[in-house]
């Protein structure tokens, strides 16, 4: 290599994810309804974003587009600067596994599995394989991170709401995702437990993880780095 071309150095870190002009139209029975129209949304590494909005304003819909549960009808989606707008489903599944961690209002824990097995679910998904001992170690680390390692062997029915939601957060963390998507994670919890859960989620951003928190609670929203409000299918 005798010659080298000067590349312009990118000073600004590439956004974790960037959505441009996202539109989602619901085509059910009757008139098609526009849920989201031309939404722009960006998250940088280590950044936390709160999304506020009335019920039915399209918050969950936006989150399901970000998390690749569903696809937009219009607009562009970049992840780490790569256009993934038209990614085939098989690769979307791989991205869900590697890049995202999901937390829901209902905890979605499997009743027949222990807390540890529920967390391990995110590791036993056909995307790669790690040995039993390695898996166990990863699971215990995630449970420790949310402060409930001592409940590893308990079934969900024996856990309180806050403990169950922390198991769900451990499940979201166990693969060390780049971004956490949380859809009203405190909606089913009392204020105190809700505060604890938000703290746990916010902690994850210290390691450079992005966080998108959908909430109705303004106190929780204020703890985020940025607050956005959805109204009539767009941010304002």
């Amino acid at each position: 290599m005798t010659q080298s071309f000067e590349q312009p150095t990118v000073q600004v870190q590439a956004p974790l994810l960037q959505l441009n002009g996202i539109t989602k139209v619901l085509k059910g029975q009757g008139e098609p309804r526009t849920i989201l129209s031309g939404v722009d949304f960006t998250v940088h590494p280590g950044q936390s974003v709160a999304i506020l909005g009335r019920s039915g304003s399209g918050k969950s819909t936006l989150l399901s587009l970000i998390g690749l549960f569903d696809r937009a009808d219009e607009g562009k989606y970049f992840l780490h600067g790569n256009d993934i707008t038209k990614l085939p489903e098989r690769r979307a599944a791989a991205l869900r596994s590697a890049e995202f961690g999901f937390v829901f209002q209902r905890f979605f824990l499997l009743k027949h599995l222990t807390a540890a097995q529920n967390v391990a679910m995110a590791l036993v998904n056909g995307q790669g394989w790690s040995a039993r001992r390695k898996r166990k170690q990863q699971v215990m680390e995630a449970l420790e991170q949310v402060g409930i390692a001592h409940l590893a062997k308990s079934k969900p029915t024996r856990l309180s709401g806050g403990e169950q939601q922390r198991v769900a957060i451990a499940r979201a963390l166990v693969r060390q995702p780049r971004i956490i998507l949380a859809d009203e994670p405190t909606g089913a919890l009392d204020t105190e437990t809700g505060n604890l859960v938000v703290e746990v989620l916010l902690n994850t951003t210290r390691q450079g993880c992005g966080l998108v928190l959908v909430t109705h609670d303004h106190d929780h929203a204020r703890k985020m780095g940025r607050v956005m409000e959805l109204r009539d299918g767009r941010f304002n």
């Binding site: 549960f69 829901f104 679910m121 859809d183």
Partner: protein, 442 residues
Amino acid sequence: MLSGKFRSALVIGGQGIRARKLRTFLSMVSLFLGVLAVVAVQAGSEIAERAMLTDVELQSGKDGTIMGYVPGEKGAPGIVESTLKGRTDAVAMISSRAIIGEPGVRPINEGGMPFEYANRGGDYSGPMVYCDANGTCTEQKKEERKPDGQAIEVSMVALTGDIRPFKPFRSVSGTWLDFGTAPSLAPRIVLNEEAAKGLKQYRVPGEMMIDGATHHVSPQIIGVVQDGSSQPRVYMRLDELRTWMPAAAATTEVDRFRGGGTQLELYLQPGTDDLQQLIKAKLTGAGLEQNQMHFQTVNSKERMESQLKIMRLIFLGMAFLVLLIGVAGILNVGLATVGERVEEFALRRAVGMSRLLLAGIVLAETLLTGLLTAALAIGAGVGGLQVALMMFGSRFPSLQGTAFPWEAGVAGVIAGLVAGVLGGLIPAIRAARIPIATVMRA
């Protein structure tokens, strides 16, 4: 090295089955009956076919054998005997009547019928009329009725050689005739089971009177065989018969009319056309007509198989219906399970499982259930056969030593697989189509 997908599937499938033991068990029950029906039909027809085939071989000879029927007239027995002397590729059977027991009495089973039908009622035969080739009919005087006595009538079969290569007689006790030694002066005979039964049942004295023989002899019974005949028969070497009956009796016209007299049956191996021609030529030379000699190839198996095929199809159709009910059962349970597990499946996809793997796991669960059920059903089939043989084996001797036919096992495995695929495919497709966004919304 197993792939991560496969290992994941094993872990998840195991968890799923453990979490729903009762459900798995219930779906197995319906399928079990279906697969068992297929196994039973397959095994039953297979065993029936084998049993029938051995009986058919006993009665009409092995397939491919060329059988010849020749009337025992005009010196035919002697001609055939001398032609076949020392040959192993052809054997002649010369049958005539013989009475074993008290001399000068009416045998218990007059006419040589099976003992089951012996002594049932009186003499129903009317006057006998015999018409010759020219159309002249004469009434035959009835033989004077002899007094009843301790004697049985048998069909006496004299052999020029070993018949077993053509008809696979099974030894019941004692030995078979030895054609390798010099003819014995004390005639040796082998009974079939019916004749042995008659001798035992009626305690007849050991004297034997043969049609055409001038004096009684005391036979030496050396064995009993199963020959597939329901009529009493005794087998002996033709050359030993000759020692007290120098020439086989010529069949009279009357005998022929009554279906009696001396009968000649020839068994030739395939590819002995020259021998067949030679015998025909010699017999024609002796004055027999061509149309009195019948030669034909035994192909009973083919005929029997076409009959069995229809029966088998009917039963297989019935088994298929039962299997269909089993499939419907497993499908029903599978669909209900998917409905119940919608959240689990959506969650698994949310944390990164691909559609294909999810569908694969759902399919694999029913497939495993199907295969396991098939294994159980085959086991039940094998066990059932053992029990059935233990209970009924003695009544059906041809079934003795029957092993579970592997075809039935294969049919069972295929049925289990098919049921697993049919019952699991629709739930698998359903599972793959679950929309994550709809299920996980809050």
